[in-house]
Structures are given as structure tokens and as C-alpha cells.
């Protein structure tokens, strides 16, 4: 004996598999809507990760930058004699083409644009480290966990950056920008990026009490440089992020609206097409609720399928866009999967509910008369 629930599932399965064309069209509409929203959310989240926390965990409270780069010697002299400065360190940022070289299967399996950070890697700064830190001047590199995953790298292997080989001695994970970057010792990076004697930024730790004075001092000493306290940077980032997120939010809303409209017309067509079925079910004793449950479940199933497909598509889209725009890969968080599925279900059910309620109101005698 087949239980009621088993029968219900069987009915649902039949209705989905025997009407592949219709189901595919509806699923596709859901997929596109969810994909766009997921990629928008993923991107804005990714951008937040890229911008935010850039420097916060280094213990610095002042950042000195210059668009054209700072002269390392000049900056070093100025900072080391500045009163109130406790410590400072230099970093150089750039982007390089990377490939995993020398892996057993293929010489260059993957090539991608990757962020490069040149820095003093003499302490692990609270990173979660696998392997060890690179030695200075030994042609060794440290790789962030996201890059490791994306390029499928192995410890002890070699990494090819702009044609030069570096041996991989460690992987780090911190939940920050390092995860998506390759780290080299500063001199190596300067050579690789062909910017000898230049740094992108100086991270300075000063006595928290006298920050403003130190900022003023550095401004006077290094006229080309932009000097900001970390708070100012954080604030500017917040504002920028706010704008981007607003934009993404607006785009998502517009897309959702458009998708719902197109989906609801698809769903209307399907329901109209099945008006006879509805009339028949009524004639053999189906209540409005009993019949409605079938169609809503079908909408839910379509929403789930579209949601999952949309999530996957959205992840791919976000990756493609971020690679083009930022030169590195943004990983869309998995939290968006349930969100995408929920979104798919909601729009699909809402879209099918409107025509369905209309159809359920019709008298079966009227529906079934058509001869």
C-alpha cells in the first residue's frame, strides 16, 4: 500500500519529469534571478573583505601611502627619527601572473592574476601557518589559503610568478586579505615587480596618545605621502562600502522585480495550460486546498532547483567579474546557498500563487465544458 505522502511525491515527480520543457523554462527564470542576486551579494561581500581589515591586524595605527610609491630609504630615515613612533614596516603591493609550476601532471596547470604583497615576513603575526615562514633572500614564498585552494597548490612545490620560480614553504590563513595573496620578502617583491627601492605603504605604530602629532610630523617629513590614521581609513572604507552596497542592493531589487514579472507570466501560462487538470481534480472531489498544495509544492520544487542552480551560476559570475575587475578571485560565501534557495522558492511560489488562486476560483463545469 502506497501511503498518501509517497503518492504525493510520485505525483509531483511525474508532473515535473513529464513536462520537462515547461519546468525547464520556469526553473531557468528562477535561476537567472537568483544568480544575479547571489553574485551581487557575493561581490559586495567580497569587496568588503578586500577593502576592510586590510591593515587592521598588523598592530599599526597610521598608514603612509603614496600613489607613485614611496622611496624606501627616505621614508626609513624620516620614520626612524620621528619621536612617538614605536615601530614601522614597509609593504609593496602589486599583481602578478602566477602558475603552479613543476607539478607532476602538467607543467603549468593553471595561470591566474594574483595579488602580491612584499613585506618583512619575520613573524607570523597570529596567522594560522602550515609549513614555515620563508627565509629572506632564499626565493621562497608564502601563499594564502584561498590562492592555495584556487590554484590547487602543494607544500614544497613551486610557484611560478611572472616566469620566476619560487618554492612554496608555507600556507597561511587569517580570514583577511593575505588569504587571497602571495607573500614574498620585500626585496624579492621589489625585484619581481621591477620597483627597486620603492614601497607602496608604510605601516606605522605610534603611541596611541599622540597620534595626531605623529601624523603631522610624517606629513612634514614626507611631502609626497598621504598620511592617515587607521580610523580615517576605516571610516572612508565604511562610506565607500556603504555606497557600493546600496548600489548592489538597488540592482538586486530591480532584477528581482523584473524576474518575478517574467516568471509570473511563465507561471500563468503553465497554470492556464493546466486549467483542465484543475477542473478535473475539482470534479473528482479535490478541495481548493488539496489541489493548491500540489501546485504550490511544484512551485517550491522549481524554486529549490532554480535556487541551487542560480547559486552556482552566481558564484561563477562573481568569480568571473572579480577576476576581471580586481584581478583576483572572490570566494562567494556558502551562506548564500540557503539564502539563494529561499529566494528561489519565494519568487517561484509567489509567481505561481497569483494565477493559481484565479484558476481555483473557476467552476469546474465551465472549465470542463470546452468541447
Amino acid at each position: 500500500m502506497v501511503s498518501r505522502r509517497q503518492w504525493f511525491m510520485r505525483f509531483l515527480l511525474r508532473s515535473l519529469t513529464q513536462r520537462v520543457g515547461r519546468v525547464a523554462v520556469a526553473t531557468f527564470s528562477v535561476t537567472i534571478a537568483v544568480a544575479i542576486v547571489v553574485s551581487a551579494l557575493g561581490l559586495s561581500r567580497g569587496i568588503r573583505d578586500k577593502l576592510g581589515h586590510e591593515l587592521k591586524a598588523y598592530g599599526a595605527n597610521i598608514i603612509v601611502t603614496s600613489p607613485a610609491g614611496l622611496d624606501q630609504r627616505e621614508a626609513e630615515e624620516a620614520l626612524s627619527t620621528m619621536p612617538g613612533v614605536d615601530e614601522f614596516t614597509f609593504q609593496l603591493y602589486g599583481s602578478v601572473m602566477a602558475g603552479s609550476a613543476g607539478s607532476a601532471v602538467s607543467a603549468v596547470s593553471e595561470v591566474a592574476a594574483i595579488e602580491l604583497i612584499g613585506m618583512d615576513i619575520d613573524e607570523s603575526k597570529g596567522w594560522k601557518l602550515a609549513g614555515r615562514l620563508p627565509l629572506k633572500g632564499a626565493g621562497e614564498a608564502l601563499v594564502g589559503s584561498d590562492v592555495q585552494a584556487a590554484l590547487n597548490l602543494e607544500l614544497g612545490g613551486a610557484l611560478e610568478l611572472e616566469g620566476e620560480k619560487f618554492s612554496l614553504v608555507g600556507f597561511v590563513e587569517r580570514g583577511g586579505p593575505e588569504d587571497g595573496a602571495v607573500m614574498l620578502w620585500l626585496p624579492d617583491a621589489q625585484v619581481l615587480l621591477e620597483r627597486p627601492g620603492t614601497v607602496s605603504a608604510a605601516l606605522v605604530r605610534a603611541e596611541p596618545g599622540g597620534l595626531e602629532e605623529v601624523v603631522g610630523g610624517i606629513r612634514r617629513a614626507l611631502s609626497v605621502a598621504e598620511v592617515k590614521t587607521l580610523r580615517q581609513v576605516a571610516r572612508a572604507e565604511e562610506i565607500f562600502l556603504g555606497k557600493i552596497e546600496l548600489l548592489m542592493g538597488l540592482v538586486s531589487i530591480v532584477v528581482l522585480l523584473a524576474a518575478s514579472i517574467s516568471l509570473s507570466s511563465t507561471m500563468s501560462a503553465t497554470v492556464l495550460e493546466r486549467l483542465k487538470e484543475i477542473g478535473l481534480m475539482k470534479a473528482i472531489g479535490g478541495t481548493r486546498r488539496g489541489i493548491g498544495v500540489f501546485f504550490v509544492s511544484e512551485g517550491t520544487a522549481i524554486g529549490v532547483m532554480g535556487g541551487v542552480a542560480g547559486y552556482l551560476l552566481g558564484v561563477l559570475a562573481a568569480m568571473a567579474v572579480s577576476k576581471g575587475a580586481f584581478g583576483s578571485i572572490i570566494i562567494v560565501p556558502a551562506v548564500l546557498l540557503p539564502l539563494g534557495v529561499a529566494l528561489g522558492v519565494v519568487i517561484s511560489v509567489v509567481a505561481s500563487l497569483v494565477p493559481l488562486l484565479g484558476a481555483l476560483r473557476c467552476k469546474p463545469s465551465v472549465i470542463l465544458r470546452g468541447e
Binding site: 500500500m1 498518501r4 503518492w7 508532473s15 478535473l280 473528482i284 472531489g285 478541495t287
Partner: protein
């Protein structure tokens, strides 16, 4: 004591058109009644009103002591699934379900599903060799037999048939009518059947003739 099925002064208007002009009519338990008439004479409308698929503009309908006009839409649906079996001219079957599943759909709305019982019901109408076929793979006669199996699965008190043989050739018509005959004589089903075909009407025990929304003749059949 009122009759098993009774309609009284039923008037049905569709906008300006009038389909039934105050029809009164009663059917006793176990009767096989054929309603004949030209197209547009209101015979289908009357059948739909008896089965609760449509409601009259005025007048009242009762079946087995229940006033159908007093029931709301969903109670009506509940009444229908326990008491009325339908067979339509076009065999309305769900296209993506197999024969057995179509029969099980009626079981589902009624109470629970029971696949073995559905198979038996199909066997009773001689369809045990076509259980897993979908409607598109069946001939018109076979589809109609599935419909009859579906109409009977919930042991209704009355079987309503609207031109059950309308789309069938003579051979299949005889087959379907033979089935109804067996149900009527062996299981004492009450059957109301709408048709325009005198041959078909001849199988019933009583023939009611309608014309322009009124009953003009009501007599026992020759057989």
C-alpha cells in the same frame, strides 16, 4: 419520503441565456436514466447541477437527503468525492499520469491511496493489461474505461455520465455500455447518462427527453 435524487423548479441562467427553465425531476435508487435532447437543450447543465459541478440560479437539488445548494464549495467537493462518480465525454485524464495513477488520484482526494485496489478496479473494466500506460498511449475506448474505473473507485452512490460514448466508434460504444449495464444489473448502481444518441439511450431503463431547457417527455425505455 423524497426520492433519492430530486431537483425541483431548477432555473439556470448564463448571463442572458437560460439553460434550464424550471425543471423538476426525480431519480430513484438503482435506476438507469438516460437524458436525451438536442445540443443546447440543457441536458448537460442539468447533469452538472445534479453532480454539484454547477449551482442553479434558483430552485433546489437534493441527493440522499442532503441539500446540495446549502453546501459551500469545499463541503460540496467533499460530498462529491464520497457520493458521485463522473464520466465525461472527453476522457479527462491527467496526461502525465499512468492509468493506475489516474485512478489513485481519485483515491487520494477521497481518503488514502491503495494501489492494489486501483489495479483491481482497472481489471474490472478489462484494463489490467494497460496499467502503466499514459493516456496518450491509450485508445479512446480504453481512456473511457479508465475514467469509469476512476469514477467507481470510491464506491459512489450515483454515476453521472456526460456523453460517455460521444467520441467512440460503435464497437467501443457497445463495450462501454455493456460495462454500465453490468454495473447496473449486478451492483445496482444508480446511473444518470446524458446522450444525444437514441441507440445509447435505448440501453437505459428510463429515457427523459429535454428540449429548450424543459423536460418534454419522460418514459420507460423499450428494453
Amino acid at each position: 419520503m423524497t426520492a433519492f435524487i430530486e431537483i425541483k423548479d431548477v432555473l439556470k441562467e448564463y448571463g442572458t441565456a437560460t439553460a434550464l427553465r424550471g425543471v423538476s425531476f426525480a431519480v430513484e435508487r438503482g435506476q438507469w436514466c438516460a437524458v436525451v435532447g438536442a445540443s443546447g437543450s440543457g441536458k448537460s447543465t442539468m447533469l452538472n447541477i445534479i453532480g454539484g459541478l454547477d449551482s442553479p440560479s434558483s430552485g433546489c437539488v437534493s441527493m440522499d437527503g442532503v441539500d446540495l445548494c446549502a453546501l459551500g464549495e469545499d463541503p460540496m467537493a467533499r460530498f462529491r468525492r464520497e457520493n458521485v462518480g463522473y464520466v465525461f465525454q472527453q476522457s479527462h485524464l491527467v496526461p502525465y499520469l499512468t492509468s493506475v495513477e489516474n485512478v489513485m488520484l481519485a483515491q487520494y482526494f477521497h481518503s488514502l491511496t491503495d494501489e492494489d485496489e486501483a489495479r483491481e478496479a482497472l481489471a474490472r473494466v478489462g484494463m489490467d493489461h494497460r496499467l502503466g500506460h499514459r493516456p496518450s498511449q491509450l485508445s479512446g475506448g480504453e481512456q473511457q474505461r479508465v475514467c469509469i474505473a476512476r469514477a467507481l473507485i470510491n464506491s459512489p452512490k450515483v454515476l453521472l455520465a456526460d456523453e460517455p460514448t460521444g467520441n467512440l466508434d460503435r464497437e467501443n460504444t457497445t463495450l462501454i455500455l455493456g460495462l454500465l449495464k453490468r454495473l447496473h444489473t449486478e451492483e445496482h448502481f444508480t446511473i444518470i447518462m446524458v446522450t444525444h444518441d437514441a441507440y445509447v439511450a435505448g440501453w437505459a431503463g428510463r429515457v427523459v427527453t429535454m428540449e429548450d431547457g424543459l423536460i418534454v417527455k419522460d418514459e420507460p425505455s423499450d428494453r
